[in-house]
Symmetry: C2
Subunit: 346 residues, 2 copies
């Protein structure tokens, strides 16, 4: 069973994989190459993943009920074959002298976004992206029944430089008994802001950015896409719901429709401007046990992996960003991509 | 002039380089290759760096006083040719609506650790490493006179995968008008711990680790080298002074001697166990305007760059570490390297 351990100085939890520990020789010096050839996420290879947790299988003609773990799905969710956490057991919170630890209990799932091995998320029709978003919601609603879990993290690594180990387009979901430290920092910060101003800091940002326009990338009825004022990375971009809402899973069907459009538009623009960059995409939402509140505003953070400045920043949290967000927003805003429907930008 | 901007949610400051902004096409997709051929840090090329700030030039035979910016030095400090911050001007703190910013005023210096192009820090004699440490101290004492600066960051990127752009062994120093967020988190956390326990959290860690021994890598009269209980990265290792001391620059000459030995030993062991890994090394010390306190304990954090898990972790602060610190400590502890003097390990 992996272990969750807390740093006693800053309070950050980390997962220590005690089971399949890496020895020094296990760290390949070369770049991790995405495996070619056999793909466990393609049709016909359903038996090569752990049994599916859920799948969308359109059955328009009312034929025989489709079988689990067979082709015909459009989105498929399976447990991660090499999970970072174990699903069974109790947390068993313990001290080790002055230190704190607990069992690495949690869920680690993979959302296979399309049966098409060569399609990227940016290439999928908006309706298919919507299906992926509904799948996220379904999984959150299912997993939040488990009271051991405090946070459900949804993220996507695209491209090997961004940490993807399989080429076939997929996202990941990790349900955790703790809250990741950056999300905690955001929760604390937005709580403090709310205590003082009685306004949501994200709502204030949306209001100011929308007025100024210079950091706006795109906008539709429900979502605004902006380059944040103090981004850590070049071309870091956030997608936020315009109306205050603390949890992703509370979105209406209209919102998922517009979110799918906003995601597709941003990814297409990024592909255009940055020549198909590797990227990470993370959903920041309220903790599952506090899903309705006035101070936190769920959003998506998109970070293309363009620079290689990782090491020093890890030691300090101090980032030097060579691209002002006003410029990255302008490049993305002005990039013309084949559009499904008109989008206004400030 | 670069700009310092504060994220209004978590309070993290970042540097935005507004002057030499990178356009999308400036981000080379390939790995940054360390430049071969001409090296501005070698003897004879002193004119290719900005004029030196200080240098050690042994002059044992009492010959003519050596000239600045000529060969003969053993450690040389020059301004960074492409500084992240500008040294001139006032901070000019300003609001931009709800946002906070100031001029990117600061110092950015390079410490060339040796005239030998092919020597790594691990290969230098302890005495030469000591000279580097004295150089850090000299620069801190000089820069802390400038009341615009709140923090002086000293770090080393070794190897291109760790962000080094020149092969010739060097460290960097950045003087900042703000405190980097991780250091701030450590300051806050250790303050809280002290408020409750009236003990330094680092002193408690040293005491417990020293008793248990399982995460101890090495030890000498003044320093202990440990794998922390909840490390973010495989083989992350800290070097801490055994006696409570909040600021690096207060170290005695005996301490610098023993610190040089501890650093050399750790780097040699890491080279042996991990086959000359790229790494980052950062000194965490108290803010220059609060150099004597009971709660913060300066230390060095050493992070070999072995995994490629950067992207997702940036979005969450949530780390999955495949190597338990008990194992990394054991590997490093047991690695035999040619030693200058006996070292005991728990």
């Amino acid at each position: 069973m992996p272990e969750l351990r807390k740093d006693p100085i800053v309070g950050r939890w980390v997962i220590i994989s005690t089971d399949r520990a890496k020895r020094p020789t296990d760290f390949a010096r070369e770049e991790v190459k995405i495996k070619g050839g056999f793909c466990p996420f393609c049709y016909g290879n359903e038996g090569k993943t752990p049994p599916e947790i859920q799948a969308y299988r359109p059955n328009p003609n009312g034929g025989p009920t489709p079988q689990r773990d067979t082709p015909g799905w459009t989105v498929r969710v399976v447990p991660n074959k090499f999970p970072a956490l174990g699903i069974e057991g109790t947390l068993n919170r313990q001290a080790e002298g002055m230190f704190d630890k607990m069992n690495g209990v949690g869920a680690h799932e993979v959302v296979i976004e399309t049966p098409d091995h060569h399609a990227t998320l940016a290439m999928l029709p908006p309706k298919r992206i919507e299906d992926v978003l509904w799948t996220f919601r379904d999984r959150i609603l299912d997993l939040k029944k488990d009271r051991r879990f405090k946070y459900i993290l949804i993220f996507k690594n695209h491209g090997e430089a961004a940490g993807a180990s399989l080429e076939h387009s997929h996202s990941q979901l990790i349900a955790l008994p703790i809250i990741p430290i950056y999300v905690n920092d955001e929760l604390d910060g937005s709580k403090q802001y709310f205590t003082y101003k009685e306004r949501c800091v994200f709502c204030d940002i949306i209001h100011q950015e929308s007025e100024a326009g210079i950091r706006v990338v795109a906008e539709n009825e429900d979502f605004i896409t902006i380059a944040p004022f103090a981004p850590r990375f070049p071309f870091e971009t956030w997608i936020l719901p315009k109306q205050h809402e603390s949890a992703f899973e509370h979105s209406s069907s209209q919102m998922f429709e517009n979110l799918a459009r906003a995601i597709k538009l941003l990814l297409m623009k990024a592909d255009r401007v940055l020549d198909n960059p590797p990227y990470n995409l993370v959903i920041h939402s309220s903790p599952v046990q506090d899903p309705v509140n006035d101070y936190y505003h769920w959003h998506i953070e998109f970070m293309p992996k363009l620079t290689k400045t990782a090491g020093f920043e890890w030691g300090t949290g101090f980032y030097i960003n060579p691209t002002p967000p006003e410029e990255s927003a302008k490049f993305l805003r002005e990039a013309s991509v084949e559009e499904m429907s008109p989008v206004t930008a400030g």
